[in-house]
């Protein structure tokens, strides 16, 4: 099997794995009221969760950026595998490259969905949701 095929298959899988990792990395809780990173701050400055947030502060979109770049990486993995499949399609090569393309194709939709979804802060939050966040925040910050 040519080096080119093995390289492309490995690169495609690595890119897909990186895309999923990036997506997961970007979807840590970004909320200033519940995120772990600001737990210490909240402990020192307990404040009520606002009832009606006026709009999302941009950090809510940081997760979308991670998912979007992940989706591009996934699409890239699919594209390079498919392009090589056109050039190298003996049975063994076709199975290997096809499998890599399938893995990338399977990973792509959730990333696209996450990249397209509106940030949580954009949606008006229900009283129940706010109460849940407040409770979660209290638990996470140890209060």
């Amino acid at each position: 099997m040519p080096f080119e095929v093995i390289f492309t298959a490995g690169y495609s899988l690595l890119l897909t794995a990186g895309a999923i990792g990036l997506h997961r990395l970007g979807h840590r809780d970004p909320s200033p009221w519940t995120s772990r990173m600001l737990a210490g701050y909240r402990a020192q400055h307990p404040g009520p969760v606002p009832d009606s947030p006026p709009g999302a502060f941009p950090h809510h979109d940081s997760g979308r950026l991670h998912s979007a770049v992940g989706a591009v990486a996934c699409l890239a993995a699919l594209m390079v595998a498919a392009a090589q499949l056109v050039r190298h399609h003996r049975p063994g090569e076709a199975i290997l490259l096809g499998a890599c393309a399938a893995v990338a194709a399977a990973a792509l939709p959730p990333l696209l969905r996450a990249a397209r979804s509106r940030p949580a802060g954009d949606r008006a939050r229900s009283p129940g949701r706010i109460a849940r966040q407040r409770d979660d925040g209290a638990i996470r910050s140890g209060r």
């Binding site: 600001l38 210490g40 701050y41 006026p54 950026l65």
Partner: protein, 788 residues
């Protein structure tokens, strides 16, 4: 307008003396080591022999041939086609490695060919033995080497003077026999430096770079050992910094006070004349960005199809070295345009006072000067590469050092323009500065701006006839120290100040971040500049210092990226209390993208090629381009656009403002950049690195390899991403900037909506954010910000 009266006392410093002393001490140490390395470059670079003679005593070439050959190399833009000592562009060959391989093959053939062990040993001995006599300035080479030189003069005549083109250079690029001989002498000298043993060591002047088994060039002990130590420095340094800050919370996030914020509608914020002038800067920026992207696409096309541009013989008018020259020059120029404009835009917001008289006129004059530099330097580069301008080539045409391609006259004019810009900032700031401690934000803003022309001016020290190692030292004062350190510092100060003005971060915390930045970059970035000089003729100590300290550069990138999330999240706590919507969603989104690409493009992709042992095989390959694109566009490009979007939010009337345009631009730029890296640059770079280690550096840089079927496929796959980047990313930005020009925000409309400030000073400018402490009777944070 009357000059502001000097206050009786300055505001006390908001940051402890320890931070100031640490920053000063570490900066002094960092620059001391940098100067020391410069001294070493002057003292220990490979000598240029006065005469190079064959064993028979026949003169082969002399010092003037080498130095004039370097001029021929530069004026024809060959550093934007191929490279020398690994530095330059990536389409053409590395001429050091190219000459070394071709001459070694010729010498070995003359001694008996590949089948003969004796021939191989004699070849290695010819190239490794240093027969330079410093007393007479004479270098003696073997008869076989002298014969190889003559063969290679003819070879370069055929390739660089090819009448058919098809190499990326213009047809008949260099045909003058004297120039070809001088050029070959330059290549021969570089190959001699790269192979003969540095006195007192067992390696060449270039630490045995490039890898070339024919002459016995392989990685040195320093190259391997300092790679390992560099990794340890990175891991240990990152861990130590996170542990220390986690334990002691030096940045003081947890001490954040609670303020009340009210965001103003951008249209109710009155703009000064100079601020309105920046609309032209941002339009110019977007136009230059479009041209830069288009010529970049043309350069990319040469890699995908070297023979023709969809049937058009592009190399006749726009050869590869010209479009690449424009591409890298414009990258610096459009980003700088945005930074200059952002500085001017921010000053009235910092001072909260109207402009001094004539400030807007000066801003327009600066833009005019910038336009002259851009048009003049680009025209000069085109004429220079096409062989024009004769004796004035390095003044008005193509100076030829990669990233410092513009003629010296334009370089001086650009430096003067930046000094002029600092003077504009000074006029606006001086009243505020008089009331401030020199360790506080306004002074840090001014100092960071002042450093830009000062450091850029060091690039004027390059001279087209100097030894390469010396010109490279000064070149990287601009390419690394100016771009990667001082622009980074200015960036940090600007972003921190914007967050302070937005009221989401306290000034003391922002100052701590700035001083931390100075400390970390002085330790890593300044000395780390040496990672560019591993193989350019500097001694092994420079390699060691560069490897070890440049590893520390990644630490602040990681650390500040992680901390930036807290920076922004804290803003959300404040924003949620505001009754009005936050107007800078997309400007901050571009800052989020800066953080992302800072970590991936500058941090991960940068460190990927930073270890000396990796760089030994990798330098001048697509992995360098991968890092360059992801870091330059991802960090400085996104930041420049972020500043533009921030200002345009005020400059574009509400009825013409279109959030969708910015949204499309944001996602297209990020998607296009990611596509560029993931589909083409990264995989091609990995394949090229593998080929360099497996087959040889010469082979990995050859046109045969670059244009093979696999590479061509990956190059063509980049096309959709580039289209998304240009059409979806750049054009909407240009359209929005055009609306900024059209205005509609008249002076009257702007001021009519401005309410009186809290203390009744109606003449004061209002910020886009009001910041108040909830407790009655306390000084407002806004008051603190404005120094009142």
């Amino acid at each position: 307008m009357e000059a502001p009266s000097a206050p009786a006392t300055r505001r006390h410093p908001l940051i402890g003396k320890g931070w100031v002393q640490a920053a000063a001490l570490i900066s002094i140490c960092g620059f001391f080591v940098l100067v020391l390395m410069g001294f070493q470059a002057y003292r220990q670079g490979p000598p240029v022999p006065q005469r190079v003679v064959a064993e028979s005593g026949q003169l082969v070439f002399d010092e003037d041939d080498v130095r004039t050959g370097q001029e021929v190399f530069l004026r024809n833009g060959l550093m934007q086609y191929g490279s020398i000592f690994g530095h330059g562009a990536y389409l053409g060959p590395d001429f050091t490695a190219d000459y070394l391989r071709r001459s070694a093959l010729a010498v070995r053939d003359s001694y008996g060919g590949p089948a003969s062990d004796t021939a191989a040993q004699r070849t290695r001995r010819d190239f490794k033995t240093n027969r330079y006599d410093p007393d007479t300035g004479t270098l003696t080479i073997s008869a076989a080497q002298a014969a190889a030189f003559e063969t290679l003069v003819a070879h370069y005549g055929r390739t660089l003077g090819d009448p058919a083109g098809k190499t990326g250079l213009r047809p008949n690029a260099i045909t003058d026999p004297t120039q070809l001989r001088q050029l070959t002498a330059y290549f021969a000298w570089s190959a001699w430096s790269a192979s003969t043993q540095r006195p007192g060591t067992n390696h060449s002047y270039t630490n045995n770079w490039p890898s070339e088994p024919l002459v016995g060039n392989r990685p040195t002990g320093d190259t391997v050992v300092w790679s390992v130590l560099s990794l340890i420095a990175l891991l240990g340094g990152t861990g130590a910094l996170f542990a220390a800050f986690g334990r002691w919370n030096w940045l003081g996030w947890h001490g954040r006070e609670q303020h009340e914020l009210r965001f103003r509608d951008p249209l109710t914020v009155r703009l000064t004349g100079a601020q309105r002038a920046t609309a032209w800067f941002f339009f110019t920026m977007a136009a230059l960005f479009l041209v830069q992207a288009l010529v970049g696409a043309a350069a990319e096309h040469y890699r995908a199809d070297l023979t023709s541009f969809f049937g058009i013989p592009l190399e006749r008018w726009l050869p590869y070295n010209l479009v690449r020259t424009w591409h890298v020059q414009l990258a610096l120029l459009w980003v700088s345009t945005s930074f200059l404009a952002a500085g001017i835009f921010l000053v009235p917001m910092i001072t909260r006072r109207p402009d001094p008289k004539g400030q807007a006129v000066l801003a327009y004059a600066l833009l005019g000067a910038l336009a002259v530099v851009v048009v003049g330097s680009m025209a000069g580069e085109a004429i220079g590469i096409h062989g024009g301008l004769s004796g004035a080539w390095h003044w008005l045409g193509m100076q030829g050092f990669e990233y410092l391609d513009l003629g010296k006259f334009w370089q001086i004019l650009l430096t003067t323009g930046m000094v002029f810009w600092v003077a504009i900032l000074w006029r606006g700031l001086r009243g505020r500065l008089a009331a401030e401690s020199r360790a506080n934000m306004p002074w840090m803003f001014f100092f960071a701006a002042l450093a830009l022309p000062l450091v850029y001016a060091t690039g004027l020290m390059t001279d087209q006839r100097d030894d390469f190692v010396i010109t490279d030292f000064w070149r990287f004062m601009v390419v690394h120290l100016w771009v990667e350190d001082f622009l980074e510092l200015f960036t940090t100060v600007m972003v921190a100040y914007v967050f302070v003005l937005l009221g989401v971060v306290r000034e003391r915390i922002a100052l701590t971040v700035i001083f931390l930045d100075i400390v970390l970059y002085s330790a890593g970035g300044v000395i780390g500049t040496a990672h560019h000089w591993y193989f350019s003729g500097a001694p092994a100590q420079t390699l060691a210092l560069g490897a070890f300290f440049s590893a520390f550069e990644v630490i602040p990138l990681t650390f500040l990226t992680v901390e930036a999330w807290s920076f922004i999240r804290l803003g959300a706590r404040q924003e949620a209390r505001s009754a009005s919507a936050f107007p800078h969603r997309w400007a901050v989104m571009f800052l989020v993208a800066v953080g992302f690409w800072n970590f991936l493009g500058a941090g991960v992709f940068g460190f990927l090629i930073n270890l000396p042992i990796v760089s030994y095989y990798e330098i001048g390959t697509a992995l360098t381009a991968n890092h360059g694109h992801a870091a330059m566009m991802g960090v400085y490009g996104m930041l420049a656009i972020g500043f533009a979007v921030f200002a345009l939010r005020y400059l574009v009337p509400e009825k013409r403002w279109n959030d969708n345009l910015v949204r499309i631009s944001f996602w297209s730029l990020n998607a296009g950049l990611a596509w560029m890296a993931f589909v083409t640059l990264l995989p091609l770079g990995i394949i090229q690195l593998y080929h360099s280690v497996d087959a040889g550096y010469f082979e990995a840089r050859s046109l045969e390899f670059l244009t093979n079927d696999t590479n061509t496929l990956f190059e063509w796959l980049r096309l959709p991403g580039d289209v998304v980047f240009i059409v979806g990313g750049v054009l909407p930005l240009l359209w929005l900037a055009f609306h900024g020009l059209r205005g509609g925000r008249t002076r009257a409309a702007g001021s009519a909506a401005v309410p009186a400030s809290r203390d009744g000073e109606g003449a004061d400018l209002m910020l886009f954010t009001e910041v108040e402490r909830p407790e009655p009777g306390e000084a407002t944070a806004a008051g603190e910000l404005s120094g009142r």
